[in-house]
Every structure is written in structure tokens, then in C-alpha cells.
Amino acid sequence: MTGKEKKTGLVFFPAFDWAISPTHPEREERLLYTQDQVFEEGLLDLGNIIEYKPGLATKEDVERIHICVPDVDHVTTESHMISAGGAITAAEKVLEGEVDSAFALVRPPGHHAMRVVHGARGFCNINIEAVMIEHIRRKYGHRRIAVVDTDCHHGDGTQDIFWHDPDTLFISLHQDGRTLYPGSGFPEEFGGPNALGTTVNIPLPPRTSEEGFLYVLDRLILPVLDDFKPDLVINSAGQDNHYTDPITDMQFTAQGYARLNDRLSPHIAVLEGGYSVETALPYINVGIILAMAGLDYSHVKEPDYDPEKIRQSADITRYIERLCENIYGLWQRRDEEKKKLRKEGEFIRRSRSIYYDTDHISEEQTEQVRICDDCGGLLTIDSRANYSTRIFAVVIPGRSCPACRKRGEDIYHARSRGDGPYDHIYLQDRDRDIYLVK
């Protein structure tokens, strides 16, 4: 515990009238017991905790981050705009200096939503943290930002969006992708050729407990953050590492989450997954809120909490120690590794198949990034969903160099003549805040 009270904003939006389907984990009931616990503990009466109503994200907010096919309205509902709006409200309260930190306790989540959106993946349609980050940069100027994703599932969407961004450090710790959706998030996934090292993946073995998570935090995450020196730290606060979560296999606890949050001390936390709605979420959220507010959380415990029962094995401890050492080594070598990655030629190409489990869509995507030391690099994307709709997108990154900008504008003009195989051509120009579709 820090022992110092902090002013903390809380944007609570349980969306009691929205579900993916009646028995889906992402349903109305999800934050019901969290609301009960937060209300019963009287947290909203504490002088240093202030509740805010979420704003509504705009179409423009979404279009600064995503290429929505065919457009924003087709792939989102009001609930997504409120959820992203809630994250934005939390960020604004921090950046305006009204509070020291803020927690957006909102649903639906967003960290599986990638740059191109054909539909929902892993219960996510739009990436609420990414939309929030670009909103911050547009409104308050450029910021170096670190996102620490503590959801049990790899934050593949956030990784995809910031893959080429040298000013956004994305760290994900999650259950090993060989044992859980979405099956990615290995240490070798380390960022694009212009931003190598600003993606850090920490796949943890199943049954990792408090000890393991806090070890990773102290020995790997905090040192990397010290090196990166972000202006803002954001926690994608998924809560499905809990020992009672029905769809994962970890042994984390409410106490653990509170301690992690206390030591990480994020400016903004945004709820992601977590589907043990009755036995985990109420306690984890009370713990996180108290920790963010600098209040005593040592009495927060689940009714059936027993540290002996969930202690991790010695093998797991050893495995995690080695893993952290290897990843920290990789982090320290990131500049040499970047040189090795760069081959001859102006662009580096990456082709992938992406599956949207929630909406059953298969996407084939080829991305080309311009090698650049002066900015994140011009990006072009050729994407086709379900062997039908095909789009082409040109993304001119924020703080783009003149060369990438010129190249991007030329490509967009050439493509938008309309003689190609594409249904739509998109231009996303972050610096000029322009989004065009043809």
C-alpha cells in the first residue's frame, strides 16, 4: 500500500440492458454483483472517489484508430460507443487534472479488436483503449503511452493496432497461447520493423498464482517501464486470471490484483474480460478501486480465499523466472534485433489469416509497412473477409515524416481511381485527422 490517498475517478457503466446473447459470458448480469459490492462497501461515498457518467464516443473517435468495414455503424452498437466513451471520460478526467487516476469499469470490452474491423472477435468490436489513446493524443497532444494488459487472454487487438507505433509500449501478460484463445502472444511477437521492442509478450503457464504475477511485475514489467519512460500508464484490467474464472486456468486473486494495481500505479485502468461474475469480479473490483485510491485494501478477500490451495508449484516459479530473464534480455537487445529484421527494399510485408470467433468471419490480410526511422511508417492493408468483401486501406501514422506522407497520399490517389479489385478504399490520416472512404 502506498499509504497516500489519491483522488480517483470511477466511470461505472454496467450496461444492464445489453448482451451478446442471453447466456453469453458478456451479458447483462456481468457487473451486477460488482455493482452490489461497490455500493455496499460505500466506495462512492469516499471523499477521494468520484463517479462520472460515461460520455459517448463519436464515429470520428473510432475512425482515428479503426478501419471499419464497411463503416462504423455496421460493426458497432450504442453499447460500444458508451464503453469507449467511458474510457475516454476516464482519460479526460485524468488529463484535465480533476483526478490523479481513473478506472473505467465498463463493458463490453475491446482488446481483441484489431485495426481492421469486419465484426466481433473475442467479444470485442472496437478497441476501447486504443480509441481512448488516439482521443488523448488528438485533444491533449502527443504522449508516450504504455499499455499493460493484465487480461488472461493475449490482447492481440491492441498489439495489432500499436505494432508499428514506437511511442506506444504494449505489454501483455496472459495465459500461454498454446492453452488459450486467441493462441498468440509469444515473446517472439516483439513489434514491427519500425517499432521493435515496443510490443512485449509474457505468456504465463496455466496455474500461475499471486507469486508469479507479482514476480513478473517486479522483475520485468516495472524495469521495462523504467526504461521506456511513458507519460501515461494504462492498465487493460482484465479480471479473468482469477482462480474461479470459468473460461481460463489461472490462480490469481483479488488481493493479487489489488497489489499489482498498487505497484503498477496506472493513470487509467480500463476493464477488459473477466467472467466469474459472482465469485471474482465483485472482490477484484473493490480491491482495484481501493488500491487506485491509495486506501487500505488488505481486508478485501473472496469468501473462499485460501492461499494454500492456490499456491503455484515450484516448477512454475522456476519457469517464470527463466521466462522473465529471457524477455528482459530480448528487451535490452531490441535495437540490434531491429537492425537484423530490416531487409533490402522500401516495404516489409506481413500476411495473416484472422478469425473472428464471435461473428464467425475469416479475414485474409496483407499489410505492408514502409521502413522508416523518422516515424511509425506508412502502412497499407489489403483485407478480404469471408472470401467476398475486399478493401484496401492507407494509414498515415501520427507524427508522420514527409516521405511517408507523400508516399501514402500517392498510393491512395492511385488506388482510389477505382479500377482495382476492391469494394472500398480507405485513407486514415492521423496527423490531419482525415478519414476518407471510396
Partner: protein, 558 residues
């Protein structure tokens, strides 16, 4: 006929209303703060006589008794027994030096996770008894979901105390720290309040009145006075409630409105939504203690006619202190009232003294007394208008939890400003201008509180929770827990909730024709475990809305 009496801080007002709710008699006497029953007796005897006593249908009383007992700390020492379980650190819940934390707790689903330890409870009671404590409060976390634990503690220690207050009876709302504060206050004023009720009833008996006696609560509703004795904390802060109900009774508008009561020391601000006064979302706050007591939402700011005005570091400051009356009435310091007198906005007091008051301030402002008076008057109006805007903003930005509510975005947009109190006439037009809202001064405003009290209807609320997985229904305010079939539906819940609310309201003294019911919360959730629906979680809250009683004669405007 209805007798309404408002025993206020300075005056006690009594009015006698006929069947058309017209004032036929009224009286105003000074309140004796050391004996409120005397004040009640004096005001009443001025307007009641053998003749109208026969036709008396009801007697309704509002009093600052409970509020004053708390503010002046004339309360009993209370031993608190708390079963909190994990969560907030116990140190944050220590309401006084007589708190005992015991083991045992209930989860948010109402499951008893850990039972109580009888020995521990008895030992706590023993220690309280040894300190000479005769009043107890028993509060468990989530006791509104399952009061069993509190009741068992009560059974164990009942014999050791004169009175025990139970947390689950205070409100159906969640909030453990507020439940502790509410239970504590209820037990602390229980004896003094019961003595007061006995005194009132004795007097009513003496004059051979047979009409039922009611008392005004913080929510602007009434309760039969004997019923209120079980739950005295419900009558705290009924002072502002009397003034709001007064405005409602004189105007009875159906639109969004602002109500201001500008007094000597403070100004009370309240709001009406479609003519219905707004309630505090969780409960009222008294002496810094946040409670679960249902109450009208009022904001009090330290600006009034007698607020002290002075320069401080080059800035003109008004209030929050009042150090005597206006100089125009022989007071020691300049006040907004002096400014209004000098500006000719009101014809009271000594105008020369008012000019002297402004002259004292004019020097530093390097201007004339008249110009100073204008500055003081404008600033006082601006401060009040500013506070109204803040209250509106706060209410219109209140968090909501469904997409429907966010998109619908109902906001309060006042169409009229009602102003009562001494400086009302002088300040209302200016404040109205600042808020772009026409202002009105209700008639009879000098006895408005007594009229409002006389016409307030009996209010109450209940909370129903049905858990069809556990097959249990709880109406905690009534201490009811009963089993239900697995197929129990939301419609069943609404039906039971309405029935129980009616029963409760009638028991509290409501008349059949005043049962204006409203469902204020209506939620149903599927409970899914391991991808199968295992039950429903149904939550209904219903109330009798605060408002005025209906006319007896049919067809009359209500």
C-alpha cells in the same frame, strides 16, 4: 378539517384547513427550544376550540426535534455490533468508541458465508453493559440481502438492552457504512424521540382530540406518529422537507421547477421534476454523517439576508457566517439585507442605518454607498444562482447504468423559480433573470411550512429481491423472507411488491385515496452458471411518491 403545525427553529406555526384546503385559522408563536411540546401546545390552543375540534380529521406535525437532538448531541450512547466480513478496513467503519466487530458475514447473494460466534457476541454485549450502555445497534454487511445474522445477534443480546436498532430495517438500499450511521442515529435518538411522541399523544388526549396524529419525515411524506417511533431517524431533516412541501402545497405545479427558501443564514435549494420533489439518491446527510434515510434532495448554502459582508484580500465576501441581524435592525455588521433596504427593494428596517452599513464597505471599494449596495445585492444573487446551476448540473450528470437511460438522457429543465423566505421579494426577480427562469412568490408563504405539513401524504418504499435459483424472496424493510417456486416471474414480483407496499402504507396511516404508487426500480437478470441459465435475479423497488393528499370531494382539483 386538518390541523398542520410546524415547530420550527424560531417560530411555531399552526394552520387549520377546511375541506377545500383553505386556511381558516392560523397562528404563529415563538418556539421554546427547551420544550417543543409547549410550543406545540401553545400554537394549537390558539386555533383549536370545542367547535372545530369535533371536525378535525387529522393532525400533522413537523418538528426539528430529531435534527436538534443530533446537532446538539443530546443523544444516548449506543453500543454497535458490526458483522462486516472482508472489504473496507474496519478502522474506516468505527463510528464511535463503542463499536465491536464480530465474526460472521453474508455475501452479496445473501449467503451466510460465516456464522456468528455466540461467545464473542455475548462478550461484546457484556462489555457494553459494563459501560452502562442501554441502547444497541446491530448491523451486518449485506443484511438487506439476508437479515438472519442480525436477527440472531439480536436474540442473543436482547435482554441486555432497553432498545436495539437493526440495520436491515433502516432501508432496502445497499451501503454498509451508511447503514451503520443510520442504525447508530436511530438508536441514539430512540429514547428522546419516544419521550417526545408520548408527550404529544398525552396532550392530544388531554384536549380530547380523536383525530390521528402524523409526523413529517425527511422525504416530505408523513407517518402515523406511533409508527414513526420505531424508526425515529426517518424524521431527521424534516425542516427543509416542510418548506418544500409548503411550496408544493401553495403552487402545486406540474413542471420542472426550482424552489428557494432564502433565510437569514442560509438558502435552501430544492428541485421538482414534473412537479414532484427530487429525493436524495442514497439518503440524507446530517452533521457530516451520510445515512440511508430517504429524504428530499436539498442543498443548503451559507448565503442569506443576514450573512455578514466584508472585504477580504480585495474581495467582497458574503457569509457563510451570520453574526446577528442586519445593521438596519441594530446588528453589528453590514449584510445583504442592508444593501436591499438601501436600494429600496424592501421597505423594512432603518434606512439610515442601512446606508451606514454600506458606507463601511464603500470606502474600500472607493465608490458610493449606493453603488456598494448594488454590488453586494448582485453578488448575493449571483452566489445563489451559481449554486442552483451547480445543483442542476450535478443532477443532470448523475451516472446511469443502462444504454436506454444514456440515450434517453432525461434532464431537469426548470420552467419556474419559486422563492420563499424574508428576502424573497427583493431577490427573486434578479435570481430569476440570472437563471433565465421566471420567478414567483407563493401566497401565504409566511405559514407555508405548516400548510405543506398539513397536506403531505403518507409515503414509504419497499424493496423486493427474488432469487429463483435459491428460491427465496426478500422484502427486507418488512423483515420478510419466504420461499418461492423456481418459475416465479417478474410479474409475480411486481404483484407482491404492490400488495406489500399498500399494506405497509396503510399501516403507516395512509388514506386509500392517497396511495400514489410508483415502481422506481424494475430489473430482471438471468443468472448463468457454466453456460446454463440457473435462475433469475429480480429486483423491484416501489414507493408511494412524496406529494399532497387528495381532496375529499370528488372533482376538485388536486
Amino acid at each position: 378539517m386538518i390541523l398542520g403545525i410546524d415547530v420550527g427553529g424560531t417560530h411555531t406555526d399552526a394552520v387549520l384547513l377546511n375541506d377545500r384546503f383553505e386556511v381558516v385559522e392560523s397562528a404563529k408563536v415563538l418556539t421554546n427550544p427547551d420544550n417543543l411540546i409547549d410550543s406545540f401546545r401553545e400554537a394549537t390552543s390558539r386555533i383549536l376550540n370545542g367547535e372545530n375540534l369535533k371536525n378535525l380529521e387529522r393532525i400533522v406535525l413537523s418538528t426539528t426535534m430529531s435534527t436538534n437532538a443530533i446537532v446538539q448531541n443530546r443523544v444516548d450512547r449506543v453500543g454497535m455490533i458490526l458483522a462486516g466480513g472482508p472489504g473496507l478496513a474496519p478502522e474506516m467503519l468505527r463510528i464511535n468508541e463503542d463499536v465491536h466487530f464480530i465474526s460472521g458475514y453474508v455475501s452479496h447473494r445473501g449467503l451466510e458465508v460465516a456464522g456468528i460466534d455466540d461467545g464473542e457476541v455475548l462478550e461484546a454485549a457484556e462489555r457494553l453493559k459494563a459501560k452502562g450502555i442501554r441502547h444497541g445497534g446491530i448491523v451486518g454487511k449485506f443484511s438487506t440481502r439476508n437479515p438472519g445474522l442480525e436477527l440472531r445477534i439480536g436474540d442473543l443480546i436482547e435482554k441486555d438492552f432497553d432498545h436495539l436498532s437493526f440495520g436491515h430495517r433502516m432501508s432496502g438500499n445497499l451501503n454498509f457504512p451508511r447503514r451503520i450511521a443510520t442504525t447508530y442515529l436511530n438508536a441514539a435518538i430512540w429514547r428522546i424521540y419516544n419521550r417526545f411522541v408520548d408527550g404529544i399523544l398525552r396532550f392530544v388526549e388531554e384536549i380530547r382530540a380523536t383525530a390521528p396524529v402524523y409526523i413529517l419525515k425527511a422525504d416530505g411524506g408523513t407517518s402515523e406518529i406511533r409508527q414513526s417511533a420505531k424508526y425515529p431517524v426517518g424524521t431527521i431533516l424534516s425542516g427543509p422537507a416542510a418548506s418544500i412541501m409548503g411550496i408544493l402545497s401553495l403552487e402545486n405545479g406540474k413542471q420542472d421547477a426550482i424552489a428557494l427558501d432564502i433565510g437569514g443564514t442560509t438558502t435552501d435549494i430544492a428541485l421538482f421534476a414534473d412537479g414532484v420533489p427530487l429525493l436524495e439518491p442514497f439518503g440524507v446527510t446530517i452533521e457530516g454523517r451520510k445515512t440511508l434515510v430517504r429524504g428530499l434532495r436539498t442543498r443548503s448554502i451559507g448565503v442569506g439576508g443576514d450573512s455578514r459582508v466584508r472585504w477580504e484580500k480585495g474581495e467582497l465576501r458574503i457569509g457563510p457566517e451570520r453574526d446577528g441581524p442586519a445593521m438596519a435592525f441594530g446588528g453589528p455588521f453590514p449584510t445583504p439585507t442592508d444593501a436591499m433596504i438601501l436600494l429600496g427593494l424592501t421597505k423594512i428596517g432603518n434606512r439610515n442605518k442601512a446606508r451606514e452599513a454600506m458606507a463601511l464597505l464603500a470606502e474600500e471599494a472607493k465608490t458610493t454607498p449606493d453603488e456598494t449596495a448594488r454590488i453586494v445585492y448582485e453578488k448575493a444573487c449571483r452566489m445563489i444562482a451559481g449554486a442552483v446551476r451547480e445543483v442542476l448540473e450535478e443532477i443532470n450528470n448523475k451516472p446511469v447504468y443502462t444504454i436506454h437511460e444514456i440515450l434517453e438522457g432525461k434532464t431537469i429543465d426548470p420552467k419556474i423559480l419559486y422563492v420563499v423566505g424574508g428576502p424573497a421579494g427583493a431577490m427573486a426577480p434578479k435570481i430569476g433573470d440570472l437563471l433565465s427562469c421566471p420567478s414567483r412568490l407563493p401566497e401565504y408563504s409566511e405559514v407555508a411550512n405548516a400548510i405543506g405539513t398539513a397536506l403531505a401524504r403518507t409515503t414509504t418504499e419497499i424493496t423486493l429481491l427474488a432469487d429463483t435459483e435459491k428460491k427465496i424472496l426478500t422484502i427486507v424493510e418488512e423483515g420478510v423472507q419466504q420461499s418461492i417456486p423456481g418459475r416465479f416471474s417478474r410479474e409475480d414480483a411486481l404483484f407482491i411488491c404492490r400488495e406489500r407496499l399498500l399494506e405497509r402504507a396503510l399501516k403507516m396511516g395512509a388514506r386509500e385515496e392517497d396511495l400514489v404508487m410508483e415502481i422506481i426500480e424494475d430489473q430482471e437478470f438471468n443468472m448463468v452458471r457454466n453456460f446454463y441459465t440457473t435462475g433469475k435475479n429480480i429486483r423491484i423497488k416501489a414507493q408511494i411518491k412524496p406529494g399532497l393528499i387528495a381532496h375529499r370531494n370528488a372533482g376538485a382539483p388536486s
